[in-house]
Symmetry: C2
Subunit: 383 residues, 2 copies
């Protein structure tokens, strides 16, 4: 139990508010009496906080619960659309943006083709995406969350390095913040996806969780102790550029033999001599040997990466997502699992579940919005 050195009245009030908001989020619709029971707060405190939450438009009455003898209690719930956030995913092929509500529901999705777009052009495309979403928003959004590929300094709001976008040290947080006068949160796209799985998805509230994205890039998002773990330089999970092949192919990072050169969508397409992942999929389903080799080799390399992740972190919940995971599903997953099992102690591979995520395709958008929603809701979503 850690307590801050001085717990002021203000802190206590804020703490109680977070506690109640969280209870509404997790357990609503719920009566005032049940909130008091769950939180161990007094009825008076609950009522006082509720008045504030009503004023802020965050809470509504949802009907009446079952009577336990006396009058049936009023049930309260969070207003799902009380706050909207702009969530962005700066993908290699497509920039996607959406207005996202407090429950992680996408209210308005905009997709702009981004293939080959880089540098200033890519930045203009981000502006154009935000402009469209700002116009579509029924009120002022509470902020902008961005999931970007590469190394993203979440504290400074800077995309430090994103090979596909041709960006180095781009202060995207500041640029968007000044343009729209809104708070901006940035994270790496794989990290944002893991956050989405933790906050809204199937990994919901699993204290430790690894979500590996295998698409045009390869990266992992790591939730530890109920929080996104970013490491000392915000690049935790950036496993796509660990060199795994001696004298391997050239990588977008300028080095050779990285995991991305053998496991990513691009690697699979090149290996299978196809132009797009859809072409590889068609060939794979037609049992084309080159396509098969390419897909299963990707799975094996990801399996070895999983073995390292398990050895380092001993986390029992591993989710795989991204365009490669969606395109090749079970056969690809089997080669991931087989190789992870072959390369790990049974204590790791037997006790961990390694599964395809049932993510919606715009999981990064969701995760980007989660970066901000947790702040707006004023509580850490960790248990």
């Amino acid at each position: 139990v850690r307590i801050p050195s001085k717990a002021t009245h203000q802190q206590t009030r804020e703490h109680n508010q977070r506690l109640i908001l969280r209870t509404l989020y997790d357990r609503g619709p719920i009566s005032r009496a049940d909130i008091a029971r769950e939180t161990h707060l007094t009825r008076t405190t609950v009522s006082d906080v509720m008045t504030v939450l009503f004023d802020r438009g965050l809470v509504e009455e949802i009907g009446r619960g079952r009577s336990s003898g006396g009058k049936a209690p009023i049930l309260l719930g969070l207003v799902r659309d009380a706050r909207l956030v702009i969530g962005l995913d700066l993908g290699v092929e497509t920039f996607t943006g959406a207005l996202v509500n407090l429950r992680g529901e996408l209210r308005h999705v905009v997709e702009l083709p981004a293939g080959g777009c880089s540098g200033e052009d890519a930045l203009e495309l981000v502006y154009s995406l935000c402009d469209t979403l700002m116009r579509a928003a029924p009120g002022q959004p509470v902020g902008i969350g961005v999931g970007a590929p590469g190394i993203v300094d979440s504290a400074g709001g800077v995309v430090r390095w994103a090979a596909n976008l041709g960006w180095q040290e781009v202060p995207l947080g500041q640029l968007l913040g000044e343009r729209y006068s809104l708070p901006v949160s940035l994270a790496n796209d794989s990290q944002a996806a893991a956050l989405a799985a933790f906050v809204f998805g199937e990994g919901a509230r699993t204290a430790n969780l690894i979500a590996i994205k295998v698409g045009w890039g390869v990266g992992a998002g790591i939730i530890l102790g109920g929080e996104l773990f970013q490491g000392d330089g915000f690049a935790a999970g950036e496993i796509g550029h660990v060199a795994v092949v001696e004298d391997g192919a050239a990588c977008s990072c300028g080095r050779y033999g990285c995991l991305e050169t053998v496991a990513s969508a691009r690697a699979i397409a090149e290996h299978a001599r196809q132009l797009t992942l859809a072409d590889v999929r068609a060939a794979f389903e037609a049992d084309d040997p080159e396509a098969r080799d390419a897909v299963l080799a990707s799975g094996r390399h990801i399996g070895r990466a999983v073995a390292w992740l398990l050895g380092v972190l001993d986390v029992h919940r591993v989710l795989l997502h991204g365009s490669v995971a969606s395109a090749f599903g079970e056969p690809w997953l089997e080669s991931v699992r087989d190789e992870a099992g072959r390369c790990s102690l049974p204590v790791f591979s037997d006790e961990a579940s390694i599964d395809l995520a049932k993510f919606p395709s715009n999981v990064v958008v969701l995760g980007s919005s989660a970066l901000l929603l947790t702040q707006e809701l004023g509580f850490s979503l960790a248990r």
Copy 2:
């Protein structure tokens, strides 16, 4: 800022006590007034807590500080030997035990040769070590901390799997606890070493820290956010059995090509066709090509493991220790660094410091004691 749902008077008192104890530990000798200033507690609270700490024999007067006008203030400090813990390291060659004080000073060290000892015999050897230390202790030790190789369930006090000791599911915590009527803490030896570096050593209070042990076994201890990270199954950092070589040599775990089969002391000795690490060292210093190959190959494989650790965790402080690190020092370290650099993005390898630990040889004993000392001191040593 997280606050427990109900902060009782009891909790507040305990919190204040921890805060003061920690200030004494970090800043002592220190006056009551300075403690009050540092902790933002009132003079009265500090004096009340101090009375309790005097009664418990944890605090002593150490002299007088500089006067700032009035009477020179009395300086207080922690009594280093107020509490002693038994710390054990169940190494492959030697079982080491010691009485350790609150500052991590070893008061009495006992070493028993353990080569080839396993099963019940190994357990008897642990008892014999503890018996000797119990007799040597000036008072009742506050507990027993154990660092054991393999997979150790710290919560259950069970050594789940230790190949070298021939142990499976040995409830060592319960066995020692009943025999000596003392609290017992268990952890994996590499984890204990990382804890020692964090609590007492050169990694002191670095929030994130990786300490890799390369000896007869290979394993990492991982400190994240100022706490030992053990993962869902307590096996975080158990990287020695990730398979890294196709069709590799048989490993003690029953599988093939594990990191230990190419990087451990045993692997080096076999590869160099020598019996002991000392022999390899002599051959290495005489520029024997086989010894050189063996040592540098170990370094390269550890370097690749470091690349994975950096990619997964992005931790900027990496310490290497264990018999291999001590025996081959700088030349081995260079091959670790070169390979880690070759296999990582510059953002990882340039920003991380990868160094030989200046650990005392009995770092696992220290770490084992730290498991318990932090409990006895009643505070988490994290900042």
